[in-house]
């Protein structure tokens, strides 16, 4: 076989047919076979400078692991990945590779970049299927560290600290560990068995995971120190959902994406056997253009809606969602109303949603985010007939910890202020992920958790 594969296109990944998958919650993308992975890995030129690695928030040694995949040595590839990334089965599925590692790939100059994310996922899945050895418990140094939140930031931080021998306790507010990976990201994009497996690995390393513990309420940060924890990492994640402050947001049938997704994913409302109710919609408007908006829209179609619209005030090119999610959503029949902004939600005499009025937008000069600012086109209002509106506009950081921890300073938006080592304004209290940045990505939270673990280790060795 040839050493390199010079095909300008990525090896496609097998997927469920759109018409089939739009009616089930099974995973959409089914992963490479061994042959596909090896073939795709041979597209990597193994560049000396490895620009892809710089594009990765956790600096996965990308060309090295891909070289091992090309050789068919998947175990070696797994070890290379997990030397810097504790959760490859997750990041391989949910990272926005097109704006990170793959954006810098040399192969991307003429043709498609190497499918780094798909290869990462392949290696992680191969390991889970064929080896899945639970890690061994490290010898404990007896130093207690508390991690608040079991989302991507908390899981990564806890994993790295456990590797270093710390006695880690993870406190999770909900009844299942995983944070946004279980309540937010749907099963068809990230199977919950994968998240549970990662949590099991953490437990095998000796990390104690306590669910139903709302830090800030049941215990304060100060009380954690009194209990003997020497450092605390706060990865409490996203908080209260944002609304548009337009007329009709209190109508029956208007939900935040957080609520809609939590009912569907964490509470499994899509299963007959679940007691948690979810609205039976005929037509749904999802407002927003991020991954959360795509997840909400794709859940809505799977829950039986006949029409699902994405209403987004900028153009498709400006959408923050992963390109693959937009592509999948379109294939599944989601209708995109870009350059449209809701002006009010219309209700009937019973307070139920019957429509959403939108106005068309056009793009003006770039704004502070560098994206072109959307401007209303006067007189262009129109009504979409929908019975459900889902607001996927982002969140404000959760207030429970900052309001019960003296000395913890926050920025204007309520995010915890941290220094370059992820330490907050309270000595020994570190933070990362959405609790600091506001709504962002899984991989950025993982990066922050990793950095936090290193900083806590340095802090405790002082």
């Amino acid at each position: 076989m040839a050493k390199f594969n010079m095909d300008p296109k990525k090896c496609p990944m097998p997927e469920q047919e759109p018409a089939v998958r739009a009616r089930n919650f099974l995973e959409v993308a089914q992963g490479y076979t061994d042959e596909m992975a090896i073939n795709e890995a041979k597209r990597c030129l193994n560049c000396k400078k490895a620009p892809c690695v710089e594009g990765c928030p956790v600096n996965v040694r990308i060309p090295e692991f891909i070289a091992k995949v090309a050789e068919g040595d998947f175990m070696a590839a797994y070890e290379i990945i997990t030397s810097t990334n504790a959760l490859p089965a997750l990041s391989g599925r949910v990272c926005p590779q097109e704006s990170q590692c793959e954006a810098r790939c040399s192969r991307g100059v003429k043709g498609e970049p190497v499918a780094i994310g798909r290869l990462e996922r392949f290696v992680a899945d191969w390991y889970m299927k064929n080896v899945n050895k639970m890690p061994e418990k490290k010898e404990s140094n007896g130093i207690k560290v508390a991690v608040v939140g079991s989302g991507p930031a908390g899981l990564t931080c806890a994993s790295d600290l456990a590797e270093k021998g710390y006695a880690v306790t993870v406190f999770e507010a909900l009844h299942t560990a995983g944070g946004v990976l279980v309540y937010g990201i749907p099963e068809f994009r990230l199977p919950k068995a994968i998240v549970a497996n990662e949590v099991d690995k953490l437990a095998a390393k000796g990390v104690e995971v306590m669910t139903n513990m709302v830090i800030g309420k049941v215990l304060t940060i100060d009380e954690l120190f009194e209990m003997g924890y020497k450092a605390v990492f706060v990865g409490s994640g996203a908080g209260l959902p944002m609304f548009m402050k337009i007329e009709g947001e209190a109508l029956k049938g208007v939900f935040s994406a957080n609520e809609y997704l939590t009912r569907t994913n964490l509470m499994k409302a899509y299963l007959e056997e679940s007691d948690t109710p979810i609205i039976q919609s005929k037509a749904v408007a999802v407002v927003g253009g991020g991954n959360v908006a795509m997840d909400s829209a794709r859940c809505a179609i799977r829950l039986g809606a006949e029409h699902v619209y994405i209403v987004y005030r900028r153009g498709e090119a400006e959408m923050p969602a992963r390109a693959e999610e937009v592509h999948h959503a379109k294939e599944e029949g989601i209708e995109f109303k870009t350059l449209c902004n809701p002006t009010k939600i219309i209700g009937d005499e019973n307070g139920r949603v019957v429509g959403i009025e939108c106005i068309r937008m056009e793009l003006g000069e770039p704004d502070a985010s560098g994206r072109r600012r959307p401007i209303e086109v006067p007189g262009s209002e129109f009504v979409l007939d929908v019975d459900t509106v889902i607001m996927a506009l982002g969140t404000n950081p959760n207030p429970l910890i900052r309001s019960t921890t003296p000395g913890l300073e926050t920025n204007r938006k309520g995010g915890l202020i941290v220094d370059e080592n992820e330490m907050t304004t309270r000595d020994g209290v570190f933070a990362g992920g959405d609790a600091v940045t506001g709504a962002a990505t899984v991989i950025l939270a993982m990066g922050a958790g990793k950095k936090g673990a290193a900083a806590i280790d340095a802090y405790l060795k002082k």
């Binding site: 507010a173 009844h175 139903n212 709302v214 049941v218 209190a250 957080n258 007691d275 207030p399």
Partner: protein, 284 residues
């Protein structure tokens, strides 16, 4: 898992349970709530804390068997375990700066009013209590309220026990007779809280109501519990559940609370099946 250490039927539809939850018991305060799940398939249900014993590490809840989850919980017995019990959530009832208060409880809402009355009394605040029930058969916690109040007024809608009339009738009388309160705290069905707020408004008495909107996580994440208070959106789970009764949009709250009512009615059949199965499992 969380153990049910005590169960007592307060009347034919209302049950008291003491749940072993030491972390929650240590921190619980009057006015706060917990969320429970009976088993892995159950929904998350918020219930206001009815009492706690910090030394025993138990928290008591009082609930009316109205829907699937409360019926399922009601079928559990002492010694059984429930899947989840998380709290204390929400802000506690504020007692600071108050000298004279009137606590108004309606029906099963009295269960939630009791710890607040106790908290007022313990803080040395002069506490009048008005509790109302439909009839004699469903009166609960009378002795407990006697202990927790300076003056107790018990009302029944049909006059079969205590005084005849709604709680608002008594409240109106007291206010007209010149009783001065720094605050009235109303806990009960939404219409009752709304009318208590209407009663106190002309007298300019600060009125706090304890709201019970639909919730999922209860920790400030899902936004399902949003209520409009004074024209602003507030989240009952982190900003409440207590709010200024003169500013709450009760009509909106009532509508929002009915979102799943039709579905509940439709699926009652399957619910009964599931309850029967649970009962059989418990018997085994």
């Amino acid at each position: 898992m969380y153990k049910i250490v005590r169960k007592k039927e307060l009347n034919s539809a209302v049950t008291m349970m003491e749940i072993e939850a030491p972390f929650v018991a240590k921190k619980a305060k009057a006015g706060q709530f917990i969320i429970f799940r009976v088993d892995e398939k159950s929904e998350r249900v918020p219930l206001t804390i009815a009492g706690y014993d910090r030394e025993k590490g138990t928290v008591s809840i009082i609930f009316q068997k109205v829907g699937l989850s409360t019926n399922m919980l009601g079928m559990m017995e002492e010694g059984d375990y429930i899947q989840d019990f998380v709290g204390p959530l929400g802000r506690p009832t504020e007692t600071e700066g108050l000298k004279r208060v009137c606590v108004v409880g309606g029906g099963v809402g009295c269960a939630i009013a009791l710890p607040s009355a106790q908290a007022f009394k313990d803080a040395g605040i002069e506490t009048d209590v008005i509790i109302g029930f439909r009839n004699k058969d469903i009166v609960i916690l009378e002795d407990e309220f006697k202990q927790a109040s300076d003056n107790l007024y018990l009302m029944t809608d049909d006059g079969s026990y205590g005084e005849h009339g709604f709680v608002t009738v008594k409240l109106q009388q007291l206010l007209e007779s010149g009783k001065q309160y720094d605050e009235v705290l109303a806990i009960g069905p939404i219409p009752m809280m709304k009318f208590v707020a209407k009663t106190t408004e002309p007298f300019g008495v600060k009125t706090i109501v304890s709201l019970n909107p639909i919730m999922v996580d209860g920790t400030g994440m899902c936004g399902g519990c949003r209520v409009t208070v004074g024209g602003e959106v507030k989240f009952a789970c982190v900003d409440g559940p207590d709010f200024d009764g003169h500013k709450v949009d009760f009509a909106e709250l009532m509508k929002r609370n009915s979102v799943y009512r039709e579905r509940e009615a439709e699926t009652n059949k399957t619910h009964i099946c599931r309850m029967q199965k649970l009962a059989n499992d418990l018997i085994k």
